[in-house]
């Protein structure tokens, strides 16, 4: 199961047949396993990893540390629920350490992100402090190194 998920995490374009080959399993069994994992909400979706810096798209990514006052009964979950509803929020994590949430935010400009933090995030009741860090350059994301694809430089050995 874990092996199957690892393979799918690395390459979402693989067919059930190819995965079956990699796991030495039957294609039908793999299809069944995938269907179950989808039904159970273990597999949530499939995405494409894009290096947007290579396109003309204007965008900015920020990592925001958020401190909150946990609420009685609901703890952090209700606040998290509220924050995650914004489409600008690409990721949300409850953290150990000096602050409570990490919010991954995407906007068109730094100004847009700043507005979002000031007007939406900071005004949520029980948010006590925020610290915004802008991403300057992505070197590796989702396990993918953002560099030019390597050319096949293998020389032909005459044997």
């Amino acid at each position: 199961m874990e092996k199957l998920l690892k393979i799918m995490e690395e390459d979402a374009t693989l067919s059930a047949k190819e995965i079956a080959a990699m796991l030495s399993k039957e294609e039908g069994d793999v299809k069944k396993m995938i269907a179950e994992l989808e039904a159970d909400g273990v597999i949530l979706g499939k995405r494409t990893v894009i290096d947007w810096d290579k396109t003309d798209r204007e965008y900015v990514t920020a990592l925001i540390e958020v401190k909150v006052m946990p609420q009685r009964d609901d703890g952090f979950d209700k606040i998290a629920d509220k924050i995650s509803k914004y489409s600008e929020v690409k990721g949300l994590f409850l953290m150990s350490g000096g602050f409570d949430f990490t919010v991954m935010l995407e906007g068109k400009t730094m100004k847009e992100v700043a507005y979002f933090v000031a007007r939406k995030l900071a005004t949520i009741e029980s948010v006590t402090a925020t610290a915004t860090h802008f991403v300057l350059k992505t070197y590796k994301n989702e396990g993918v190194i953002y560099a030019k694809p390597e050319k096949d430089v293998r020389e032909t050995l005459i044997l």
Binding site: L14, A21, M22, L159
Partner: protein, 390 residues
């Protein structure tokens, strides 16, 4: 004027350069060729292995090692052979580290061959066995393995090739170029032919980690065979370490100590930096092997199916990273087929004849390439065979 041809060793003058050479001469002159010819992994050596090498350089480990190689590496090889193939070799007296699997093969042959001895080589197979055996003074007896036997050496074929002069059997499985493997019961059947003879076996197990479905079994693990088997292997294919030039020999101590003399005088020791990398590979590389093997397996099934669907039948390879399709149905010789494919579609595969005359009618295709690259090559081949059919 010097007449160099009179100065060069006679045996060497009679040795032809590798049969693939002519073909690659053509390929290298062309642009934008989609090649499926390379006999080495497309993976880079795992980072933790490269890091171990860098670290050894940073800490100034740039000396010679002992002739046999670093003790720590021999210990690692000994543990590895036990762990992966259930083989017992003493790290001190039964293992030494070579410059690639090729040196291992060369040294093993030169250590046991006397002029006039016969060496049996199943064909098609890696191109070095025959010239190396000949240069050591042997008469080479080839056995052409057959497609209907899945390119496996059969006990009957072996029995028929044995004479009182037979010294050595080369056992090249998992096989380059066919992708054939030998399973335990097939090895046992061969062992039954060999057991009461004085024939030695040189088992080239460089592709041992790349088998699909069946785990590799070494003939040395078959009863009564350990004492007559020399295992040659290396790091190139299992760990994607071709450029590090590192291999090893495992054999009973009385054989190994003699081979070590050749290694000692000709090579002294394998590169130290490579040895440090290899320690890391053997001790912490099992997961890397599994990852790469799973990827090759996926490509194997993909390319086998792709070839079948365009009308090029092939034996389903069970090991290594080559597929060996039958291209005889198109009215061209192997060389013509491959040359035409190269000129008309800019797709390069290796004619089977590069691996011996019995390769006529076949071609070797490497799948040590990305699926995308393989797909591109398959499209070219499909266009090509469609034209041939017309």
């Amino acid at each position: 004027m010097m007449d160099y041809s009179k100065l060069i060793s006679k045996t060497l003058m009679e040795t032809k350069p590798s049969g693939i050479r002519k073909f690659f001469g053509l390929v290298s002159k062309m642009q934008d060729v989609t090649a499926l010819t390379v006999g080495q992994p497309d993976f880079v050596t795992p980072w933790h292995v490269r890091e171990a090498a860098i670290e050894s350089l940073e800490s100034g480990k740039t000396y010679y090692t002992s002739n046999s190689g670093l003790r720590e590496l021999r210990d690692a090889i000994s543990a590895y052979m036990k762990r992966r193939f259930d083989l017992e070799y003493d790290a001190h007296s039964e293992i030494f580290v070579t410059v690639g699997g090729s040196e291992a093969i060369d040294v093993a042959m030169r250590a046991v061959i006397n002029p006039g001895d016969e060496v049996i080589v199943p064909m098609p197979s890696f191109v070095c066995y025959e010239p190396m055996a000949r240069m050591a003074g042997a008469n080479v007896v080839t056995i052409n393995t057959k497609a209907e036997n899945s390119f496996k050496l059969t006990p009957d074929e072996l029995r028929a090739a044995i004479t009182p002069r037979t010294k050595l059997l080369v056992l090249p499985y998992p096989n380059n170029p066919t992708g054939a493997i030998l399973k335990k019961e097939e090895l046992e059947a061969l062992a039954a032919v060999l057991r009461d003879t004085n024939i030695l076996v040189l088992s080239d197990e460089i592709y041992a980690e790349l088998t699909y479905g069946n785990k590799h079994v070494s003939i040395a693990s078959v009863e009564g065979m350990w004492e007559r088997t020399i295992v040659a292997s290396g790091f190139s294919k299992a760990y994607a370490m071709t450029g590090w030039r590192l291999g090893y020999l495992c054999a009973p101590a009385p054989l190994l100590s003699e081979m070590l003399k050749l290694h000692q005088y000709a090579i002294m020791c394998a590169p130290t930096v490579s040895q440090f990398a290899a320690i890391e590979a053997m001790n912490n590389g099992d997961d890397d092997i599994a990852r790469m093997c799973a990827e090759y397996n996926r490509r194997r099934i993909f390319i086998h199916e792709g070839l079948e669907s365009i009308g090029i039948p092939s034996f389903m390879p069970e090991g290594a990273f080559y597929i060996y399709p039958d291209i005889s149905g198109y009215g061209l010789s192997s060389e013509e087929f491959c040359e035409k494919l190269l000129y008309e579609e800019k797709c390069a595969i290796v004619p089977g004849t590069a691996f011996g005359d019995c390769g006529e009618g076949f071609a070797r295709i490497s799948y040590a390439y990305s699926v995308k690259h393989i797909t591109e090559a398959l499209e070219k081949m499909e266009r090509f065979v469609k034209k041939l059919k017309k």
